[in-house]
């Protein structure tokens, strides 16, 4: 055993907490400055429409299969589960309503956000990280191009713009999944199911989902860019940046999902 007294051990423990807290606030501070700078460059010229367009296609179009499949099966399983659950209260009629509300409010944005975080956030971090460690980011600034404007602003804008569109498509596919199961497997009358879907869906359900989506898109791009831009030290550093981008984006998505829900629906 070592000979340190309980007092010094306790002080060491306090020092550890202090260090962890300092490191945490240091990171938060850096991230905040980075975000502020990135936002500033989003709204000041020059703009790079070509890069923006490329990112919009990359995020919006190429994520469609992933998001479509995820939401389709989620809608299907939702119909199935709520049917067996509500059967206990003889309330099977609520299936259509449950599917559309949970899809638009929660599952659409969150599932799309998490899937896109894995797909797009990772590739952004890897791409910008590689550019950083191979000095391409430095090269940009010697060619009269601000890396924030050229690399980061288009990605943030594309993320915030395209995720709502993706989620809208995902919502529709998810509701359609529920409809498929509801009508073909659970024996609902198709026109009845559709009528119940429309009847209980409110504009606020969809709008809140789209606000979430836009926030998540921004978070995904921000985490991808921040971790890539600040990565250091070769392939290992890039690998670390990629992992951090996905993990931090996923966690932030779940946190902001709660906060935005609270904002819209808590009274």
């Amino acid at each position: 055993m070592n000979s340190t007294s309980p007092v010094t051990a306790f002080l060491d423990f306090l020092a550890l907490i202090g260090r962890v807290l300092l490191a945490f606030f240091n990171r938060v501070g850096r991230l905040s400055t980075f975000t502020a700078l990135a936002l500033f460059h989003c709204v000041t010229p020059p703009f790079y429409p070509r890069t923006l367009l490329r990112q919009m296609v990359e995020i919006g179009y190429y994520s469609l299969p992933v998001v479509g499949l995820t939401t389709l099966f989620s809608g299907m399983v939702l119909a199935l589960q709520s049917h067996t659950g509500f059967a206990r209260f003889a309330a099977e009629g609520a299936v259509a309503t449950v599917v559309v509300i949970s899809m638009t409010r929660e599952l659409g944005p969150v599932l799309a956000g998490l899937m896109v975080a894995g797909r797009v956030g990772a590739s952004m971090a890897a791409e910008i990280g590689t550019m950083r460690v191979t000095e391409q980011v430095d090269a940009l600034s010697t060619l009269s191009t601000n890396p924030f404007k050229y690399l980061i602003a288009p990605r943030l804008l594309a993320g915030a713009l395209m995720l709502p569109l993706l989620v809208l498509v995902g919502d529709i596919i998810g509701v359609f999944g529920g409809y498929l199961i509801g009508t073909y497997k659970l024996g609902f009358n198709p026109s009845n199911y559709i009528q119940r879907t429309w009847e209980f869906m409110e504009a606020m359900d969809v709008i809140s989902g789209l606000v979430k989506a836009s926030t998540f898109g921004f978070i995904i791009a921000l985490m991808g860019c921040y971790n890539g831009y600040t990565s250091r030290g070769g392939a290992q550093g890039v690998g670390q940046a990629t992992r951090n981008a996905v993990v931090s984006a996923s966690i932030l998505i779940l946190v902001f999902n709660y906060l935005i829900t609270e904002l819209f629906f808590a009274r």
Partner: protein, 267 residues
Amino acid sequence: MISTTPAYQPPPSVPKLSLTNVHKAFGSKVVLDGISLDVRPGESVVVIGGSGTGKSVLLKSVLGLITPDSGSILIDGEETVGLRGRKRDKVLRKFGMLFQGAALFDSLPVWENVAFGLIQGEGMARGPARDKAVEKLAQVGLGPEVADLFPAELSGGMQKRVGLARAIADEPDIIFFDEPTTGLDPIMADVINDLIVKCVKELGATALSITHDMASARKIADRVAMLYKGRLIWTGPAAQVFDSGNPYVDQFVHGRASGPITMAVRA
């Protein structure tokens, strides 16, 4: 009074580039320990020195990619240490830089790499920019068929030459070459040396280069400076470099393993 030129023209006596007592340390590792160097307009200075002595760090400090810990760096008589944002962009416009690892943008084809500064910095249309890029590629000994390849499809030496074409494409005032001939065969190395001399003479550009290749140094330099242990221990005309009377320089230019410079090699 008499002068009608609107733009400020520094008097010829003002050095293009003037470093005074520049320090830079990474953690406890001191890399630059009081560098002072003046480069006159149109002059070509070559910095020689062992691997890892901080030559690349020196160039990056002037570009502001690394912030020096202390000291002053004047460009056209204007202090640039601590410049940010638009002011920094404006200073960087004067520079062209060939990075040691070429640092080509691997998401863009070769011609767009070369034309990057023209398109993004000067707003040239893509058609004429492409023609200009092909012309610059020809100057570094690359045919038009290379223009549509991607950097990953080129050999190391070809990447270096594309990097060179990119650095000189928008005819900068001041050009930095970080080991321009490393990785090239002797004949191509000499072609590049000639090209550098031509650029400096024809564009009237000021050049600061790094090289280990003494043949190259002799050809492109007006003046040679030797970096050792964070200081410029010898500066003199290129013609004198082989009989400088300085034992460090002697050992370096003749490539002798024994002498005052001892390499940290443990057998």
